[in-house]
């Protein structure tokens, strides 16, 4: 009977607090991840919205091409009408 009481005391004083402590640690860690994940999701959505302007790169690409063509034509004309530098 004495051993039974000792077992009960150990169960209530040692085992139960240890179990509660460990479970609370797991729960706190899991709850700490939740806001971080929400911030990651928000940032990813914002990044996705920022990339909505990517199709404009096609316009930029075309305009750069046209600009370089104009520069090439202009340079070609200058090459014809302007004398080359004298050789040293």
């Amino acid at each position: 009977m004495t051993l039974w009481w000792i077992g009960n005391v150990v169960l209530l004083v040692v085992i139960l607090p240890v179990v509660v402590y460990l479970l609370k640690g797991v729960l706190d860690a899991a709850r700490g991840i939740v806001p971080s994940v929400r911030r990651i999701a928000t940032a990813a959505q914002a990044g996705s919205r920022d990339l909505d302007a990517v199709p404009l790169l096609l316009t930029t690409q075309e305009q750069v091409k046209q600009t370089v063509e104009v520069v090439a034509n202009y340079g070609g004309s200058l090459d014809v009408i302007v004398d080359d530098a004298e050789e040293e």
Binding site: M1, W4, W5, G7, N8, L11, L12, I15, L16, V19, V20, L23, K24, V26, L27, A30, R31, I33, V34, V37, R38, I40, A41, A44, Q45, G47, S48, L51, D52, V54, L57, L58, T60, Q61, V64, K65, T67, V68, V71, A72, G75, L78, D79, I81, V82, D83, D84, A85, E86, E88
Partner: protein, 293 residues
């Protein structure tokens, strides 16, 4: 049941309750994490999808820009020489000559001449254009480009100043009319252009006559002295008119060249009539009666 058994049961129940509470709470938190990760993964997938074509497009843009830089650098060095090029670059963007030209590694070692202190951009451009440029026209030998004083003076004379000091008397601006500094005698030009030698050879003797004037001044042409002409004030140059000296059409629409060299006012003139339209004969005269013929 003994008291120790009851206490044991209570202790076990407490442990089980603690397990249930904390594990359920953990499950709820993990589900929230799963939901958040699903949203994040979806957004990351969009990012990956949207950014996929960026690389080839940016590479193409960079390739075109590289070609433009190569072209401009090559043209600059070809036309101005490497040393003067670095002087021009330094003049336009002070300090940038130290970086040199990308395709000319030797340009980093060149001490750039201080071109911008002697030549302005416009002057240098005009000078590079050749003999037609004002500076080069004044000094076709080309030495003025290397003449600091001459180049600077000519450069300054190209730009207006608040009080015109140089040169002291500028030529008058072109004037059209009787007050023009250059007035062509009417016998030399009265309608159309004065035919040159080539046109005379092409058109024949009559064109040569036109070049000398239809009515020479000594025979009483319109440019003869006023005292030799009859008193007719209507025959002044205002009444006789004069050519514009320009190829620009006198009307907004210009000359209708649809008929080519064979254009005729009777066939090519007048308003555009729709196909199949009946002519307007309300103003046409009535034919003679049979008895009258």
């Amino acid at each position: 049941m003994p008291a120790a058994g009851v206490v044991l049961i209570v202790a076990v129940v407490l442990i089980v309750l603690a397990l249930v509470y904390f594990l359920v709470s953990t499950i709820v938190a993990l589900r929230q994490i799963t939901s958040g990760l699903d949203e994040a993964i979806g957004a990351v997938g969009e990012i990956v999808e949207k950014s996929a074509p960026v690389e080839p497009v940016v590479k193409d843009i960079n390739r075109n820009l590289d070609a433009g830089v190569d072209l401009l650098e090559g043209l600059l060095v070809k036309k101005a020489g490497l040393e003067d090029s670095m002087g021009l670059v330094e003049g336009l963007y002070p300090g940038s000559a130290a970086a040199g030209l990308r395709n000319f590694p030797d340009s980093r070692e060149i001490h750039p001449p201080r071109i911008s202190e002697v030549y302005t951009k416009g002057t240098l451009t005009l000078a590079r254009l050749g003999r037609e440029a004002p500076i080069a026209a004044a000094s076709p030998s080309g030495s003025v480009l290397r003449n600091v004083e001459g180049g600077s003076l000519d450069a300054r004379m190209l730009y207006p100043e608040g009080r015109q000091q140089r040169p002291p008397g500028l030529p008058r601006s072109p004037v059209i009319g009787t007050g023009a500094p250059v007035v062509y005698p009417p016998s030399e030009q009265r309608g159309g252009t004065t035919p040159d030698d080539g046109e005379i050879r092409e058109k024949g003797q009559w064109a040569g006559t036109a070049a000398e004037g239809i009515v020479p001044a000594e025979l009483g042409g319109s440019d003869a002295p006023r005292e030799t002409l009859a008193e007719d004030p209507e025959l002044g140059s205002e009444a006789l008119g004069e050519t514009t000296g320009s190829e620009a059409p006198a009307t907004d629409t210009g000359i209708d060249r649809a008929g080519g060299d064979e254009a005729d006012a009777t066939s090519d003139g007048g308003p555009d009539v729709p196909e199949g339209g009946e002519p307007d004969l309300k103003d046409a005269g009535a034919p003679p009666r049979q008895v009258d013929t």
